[in-house]
Amino acid sequence: MRAWLAACVAGMPAKAVFPLLTSPEQLVTAAQAEDVVGLVNWRLQQVSFCSGISTVWTGAAPFAEFVQAFSIAAREEALSSMMIESESRGIIRLMAKAGIPSLMLKGSALAHWAYTQPHLRACSDVDLLVPSREDGEALSAQLTAKGYERVKTLGDLVAYELLCHRQVAGGWNLEVDIHWRLANSPLFANVFTFDELMKDSIELPKLAPGARGLGIVHAFIHACLHRALNLSTGTNDKLKWLYDLEVLMELFTPEQWKRLANLSVGKGVAGIVSDALHVAAATFGRELPAQWMGVMLRSQGNETLDARRLSDWRYMQRKSFESLPGFFQKIRWLGQRCFLSHEYLQQLYGKKEQSYIRLLLWRSSRLMLRCLQLSRIR
């Protein structure tokens, strides 16, 4: 199903075989898991696309039933997108008043400039980057004064972010992630400074006056770093994230390809960027520019992180540990990794009534299981 969804999202459904005996509900569920309902629906609504696809239709129900199922599911995506957009506008106004500079990250920005319509990029929260933790705290205080609730996060060396959420009209739960580093791991936290990113940032006029997002090359590298961290925690590639890369590649000029290659090499993340490029290109059938891929390939052997081991949890944890400067930082990181707060563990495992000791034991057993499974796989 995934291959067909990928081909559909890329506008080439004929390149993949439709999974036989799949019902509309099953296909919608699969698309929801990949966060591409809006994109699939958008493709299915295109007349030329539909006439091509319906002549070779092999689904378990008539083609029209699939179209209908996606229309209904896409409506939900559109509603969520409008809620998030409205909330983002409010937060941008709030920050402008408080004089806090910020950049919108990930889908919160991409939806408003890289995609033809904002609801085509599924989003579940608002991601913001501010210059420092102090700015994050200041923004968090403003948000709590407006009815947001602060969510307990991990220690400052494990999560470089603050989380706030609130329930809005209609029972929607909105989450705002305030980051003060581009990535939530010491491995990549200092790859770019806020000033570097701000210098290359772009305006997001479709979102709000004064809203800004990462420049295209930074946005691409950020998507690759985000993917690497997802893989390290066992979250596999979603089509939504890979399609972000495809959309950005579609927009790249030759000059931007060159900058992507050079910046990736300069920042020591060529392996990660190159791996993401290969996976996205293979998923959506794109040819990559050999010249710039060669530049990245030559460099990745000298990098500290082996991009072939991004899914190896132990390796990534070890690399995170090694990347921290000084003995005390390392000890603090270990402490923060091992002894999460009671409140955070309750949130993480959804076990509100459990004692701290029981939750720690539960976490330890899960970690041990993970290590054992990884050993067996290897």
Partner: protein, 91 residues
């Protein structure tokens, strides 16, 4: 309300075109509505600051119908939108 009126979309009302329908969300109470192709075209023309009469003039060229039928339908839809506070009448 009459055909010379212009309607305005309040700040708490947002819309998205999703395939063949336009989804309208009232952020004040979380209620949403769907408009079909014809309704969506009326909504689009409202958002472009046209009076109801201008909307009819435009749409009579696009749809196989008469001015009279169109004026009746546009006024009915505008009234329904107004009752749900999805639009207001411009001063």
């Amino acid at each position: 309300m009459n055909l010379c009126d212009k309607l305005i979309i309040p700040a708490q009302v947002m819309a998205r075109v999703v395939g063949n329908e336009t989804v309208i969300l009232d952020l004040a109470n979380g209620t949403y509505y769907g408009l079909d192709l014809v309704g969506a075209r009326v909504w689009q023309l409202i958002s472009e600051n046209n009076s109801l009469l201008q909307i009819c003039d435009e749409m009579v060229l696009e749809f196989e119908t008469t001015h009279e039928v169109l004026q009746h339908d546009v006024l009915t839809l505008a009234q329904a939108l107004l009752e749900r506070k999805l639009v207001g009448v411009s001063d």
